[in-house]
C-alpha cells in the first residue's frame, strides 16, 4: 500500500489545522453558514436529514488494518457505533457533531486518511477494481496509476472549481468490476505491441442523465496518461456549462459537442500539454509502484480445500474469487445479511475485519462499490478459519452477486436529497428472497436501488433497478430492467408505471419468475432479458 511521504502528511495535517480554525470561527459566530458551508463541504462534512454527515475518502477503496480499525474507532467514539460503506468505495458517518469534526479529521490524518474532495465540484476519490493486485485477469496493477491520479488531482489548483463534480475510475482487466464506463473518465490499462498504456472513455455517468462514456482514445502511452487526463479536464473546465447544474457534468459537454469534436479539442490540448513536461518523472512512477509490490506469498501454498462443511462450501463457491497466485483466494465479506442494511457495519464488525486482514490478508482490505469488503490475499488453507470467524460475527452471508447482494443508497432515511426510502426496500427484498437455494437458482442478478434521480444506488446500472420517486407526497417506486455496470455496460429502461413498496417487490418476483421460465442453458438474468426483450417482461408485470 502507498504510504504518505512528508509532503502528503504535511498537506493533510495543515488542512486539519485550517478546518479546526474554521469550525471555531463558525461556532463563535465569526462565519455565517453561507460562508462556512463551502468550507465544511471541502472537508467532506455535509448537513443531512438528522445531523452532520462525514464522508471519508478511501483511496481506490484500499485500507490497511490500522486504517480500518480507525474507522471503527471513529464510529464508536464520535458516531453511533456504525459506519456506512458507500457505492463510491468510501465510508460515511451519519451522526457527527460539528464540534467533533476537527478531532475526527486529526484521528484520520494519524493513519494517513482524510475527507478532502469528498464533496464539491472537484475531482473526487479515484475508484478502481477492488481486486487490483490480486485478480488473475489483470494485465497490470491499476493501483499505482490510481495513486498517481490521486496525487495529481489532490488540491489541483486548476480543477478545484470545475463546472461540476468529477469522478475517475481505473481498471486493468477486460472484466469491468468498477463501473468504469459510467465515470466522467474511465481508464482501462492495456498492452499494445508490448507497451503499457490506456484506453480513455470520457463522458459516462449516472444521475438524472445517464450516459455510457464513449471511447475517445484507444491507446495513451502510460507515461503520458496524466497529461491526457489533464487535457480531458482542461477542455471540460473551459467549456463545461456553469449556468445550469443539471447540464454541467462532462457527459453533457461530450454529448452536445459530439465525441469527435470533444476528442479533437482534447488532442489539441494534449499536443500542447506534451510541450510543458507535466508528466511525472519516471523515478516517481517507480517509487510509487514499489508500494504496490506483491506481498510475500508462499510459493508452495496448497490449492487443496476441505469442503466437507456444506455451509463453508456454499460461501467458498459464492464469495471467493480466483487469485493470481496459486494457493490463494480473494475473499469477499458480504455486508448484506438477511434483512440488514446494505453497507452498514458496526464498530465491532469493522474492528474484526481489521483483525482478520492483519491475520489472513497481508494487512489489506478493499471496499467495493457494491458496498462489500474484500480481503484480497487469503491463503486457501486459512479460508475455513476465516469463514468461521466471519460467520460468528454475522459477516458470512454467501450471497455475492446474488439478488440479496443489492446496492442501496441511504435514501430518505438519511439523505436530504432523497424522495423515497431505499433501505427498507432492500431489506424486504432480502427477506422475500431469503432462501439461498432460490437465490442461487436465479444466479448472478445485480439489484440496485436509488432513493432519487441522483442515482447513488446505481439503479440505471442494475440488471434490475429501482428508482424511488415522490408521487404527491407518497413514496413510489419505478422498476427498471436491463442495466449493467460491467464490461457489457448498458442502461436500464423503465418498465412502466410505478409501484408501492410491496407492489415493486411483487413485480420483481414476477420478472424473476419469467426469467426462470424463459432462461436458456446458463443464461444470466441480464442475458435472458436482452434476448427476450422488454415487451415480454412488461406483459408479465402489467398484463
Amino acid at each position: 500500500m502507498y504510504q504518505y511521504d512528508k509532503y502528503d502528511q504535511k498537506m493533510v495535517d495543515t488542512r486539519v489545522a485550517e478546518f479546526r480554525d474554521q469550525v471555531e470561527r463558525r461556532l463563535a459566530g465569526e462565519l455565517t453558514e453561507d460562508q462556512f458551508k463551502p468550507l465544511r463541504l471541502m472537508n467532506g462534512l455535509y448537513l443531512q436529514l438528522h445531523a452532520y454527515m462525514l464522508r471519508v475518502a478511501i483511496p481506490y477503496g484500499t485500507l490497511s488494518g490500522k486504517q480500518m480499525r480507525m474507522l471503527g474507532h471513529i464510529a464508536r467514539k464520535y458516531d453511533r457505533d456504525y459506519g456506512h460503506f458507500t457505492t463510491r468505495q468510501n465510508i460515511q458517518y451519519n451522526w457527527i457533531k460539528l464540534e467533533d469534526a476537527p478531532d475526527i479529521l486529526a484521528d484520520l490524518a494519524s493513519v494517513e486518511m482524510h475527507a478532502i474532495q469528498t464533496s464539491g465540484n472537484c475531482i473526487r476519490n479515484i475508484s478502481s477494481d477492488q481486486y487490483a493486485g490480486a485478480a488473475a485477469d489483470e494485465i497490470s496493477d491499476p493501483r499505482p496509476w490510481a495513486e498517481i491520479l490521486r496525487q495529481w488531482s489532490s488540491f489541483h489548483p486548476e480543477f478545484s472549481y470545475l463546472p461540476r463534480k468529477f469522478k475517475i475510475a481505473v481498471i486493468a482487466s477486460d472484466e469491468d468490476r468498477a463501473a468504469m464506463r459510467l465515470h466522467d473518465i474511465g481508464i482501462q490499462l492495456i498492452h499494445k505491441d508490448g507497451e503499457l498504456g490506456a484506453k480513455f472513455f470520457v463522458g459516462g455517468g449516472m444521475g438524472r442523465t445517464p450516459m455510457i462514456g464513449p471511447e475517445i482514445r484507444d491507446f495513451v502511452p502510460a507515461d503520458e496518461l496524466i497529461s491526457y487526463a489533464e487535457a480531458c479536464l482542461r477542455v471540460y473546465n473551459r467549456y463545461g456549462r456553469r449556468d445550469n447544474k443539471y447540464k454541467a457534468r462532462i457527459k453533457i459537454l461530450v454529448h452536445e459537442l459530439g465525441k469527435e469534436e470533444y476528442t479533437r479539442q482534447v488532442e489539441e490540448e494534449f499536443a500542447h500539454m506534451k510541450t510543458l513536461g507535466l508528466n511525472p518523472p519516471v523515478e516517481e512512477l517507480a517509487r510509487i509502484s514499489e508500494y504496490f509490490a506483491d506481498p510475500a506469498f508462499e510459493p508452495d501454498a496448497s490449492d487443496d480445500l476441505d469442503l466437507s462443511d456444506p455451509d463453508f462450501k456454499l460461501w467458498v463457491d459464492q464469495n471467493t474469487v480466483e487469485h493470481k497466485q496459486a494457493g490463494y483466494a480473494i475473499a469477499v465479506i458480504s455486508l448484506k445479511p438477511q434483512g440488514g442494511i446494505p453497507g452498514d457495519a458496526s464498530s465491532a464488525q469493522i474492528d474484526l475485519m481489521a483483525d482478520l486482514a492483519e491475520q489472513y490478508s497481508f494487512d489489506e482490505l478493499r471496499v467495493t462499490h457494491s458496498q462489500n469488503i474484500v480481503l484480497p490475499h487469503v491463503k486457501k488453507s486459512d479460508l475455513y478459519a476465516l469463514w468461521q470467524k466471519l460467520d460468528e460475527a454475522g459477516l458470512a452471508p454467501a450471497n455475492l452477486d446474488l439478488i440479496t447482494d443489492s446496492i442501496a443508497c441511504p435514501g430518505l432515511d438519511y439523505c436530504s436529497l432523497a424522495n423515497a426510502r431505499s433501505i427498507p426496500l432492500a431489506q424486504k427484498i432480502s427477506e422475500r428472497f431469503a432462501d439461498l437455494g432460490r437465490q442461487r437458482e436465479l444466479g448472478e442478478l445485480k439489484l440496485k436501488i436509488s432513493g432519487c434521480i441522483n442515482a447513488c444506488g446505481h439503479h440505471h446500472a442494475g440488471h434490475i433497478g429501482i428508482l424511488g420517486v415522490d408521487r404527491k407526497g407518497t413514496e413510489n417506486y419505478q422498476l427498471l430492467l436491463g442495466g449493467s455496470a460491467a464490461e457489457d455496460t448498458s442502461l436500464a429502461k423503465i418498465t412502466g408505471p410505478g409501484f408501492s413498496e410491496d407492489g415493486v417487490i411483487d413485480a420483481i418476483e414476477t420478472v424473476t419468475d419469467l426469467y426462470l421460465k424463459e432462461r436458456q442453458e446458463d443464461e444470466r438474468f441480464i442475458d435472458t432479458y436482452r434476448r427476450v426483450g422488454m415487451a415480454a417482461f412488461k406483459e408479465a408485470i402489467y398484463g
Binding site: 463558525r26 461556532l27 459566530g29 453558514e33 448537513l47 436529514l49 438528522h50 445531523a51 452532520y52 453511533r80 451519519n94 451522526w95 457527527i96 457533531k97 460539528l98 464540534e99 442494511i341 430518505l412 432515511d413 438519511y414 436530504s416 432523497a418 426510502r421 433501505i423 427498507p424 431489506q427 415522490d470 407526497g473 407518497t474 413514496e475
Partner: protein, 98 residues
Amino acid sequence: MKILTGNDLKTGDVTWWTGSDWSRHVEDAVDVGESFEAILHEEEAARRVNVPYAIAAEMTDEGPRPAHIKDRVRALGPTVRPDLTLKPADPEAGNWVI
C-alpha cells in the same frame, strides 16, 4: 399550520421552534402562521439554530405532524434503525412516518 425547524449548530440535531426555544421533539412545535421571517433571522443570528426554515404541518391528537414525509423522517429518525429514533421503545413508531 406552519412550524419552524432547523438543526442545532453544534450537534446537528433536528430541532423545532417552541415559541421561545428549540426542542428536539416535534410535539413541542408551535404554529407560527405566516409571520416567521423575523424569528428565523433572529434565531440563526443568535446561533441557536442552523439553517432554519418553515414547513407545513397539521395538528393531530399527538401534536403537530409535518405534512411531508421527509420532515416526518427528520422528526422521528431513520425508520430502519428504530433504536436510533426518538422513540426507541416503540416498534410501531415508523408507522407515524408513513
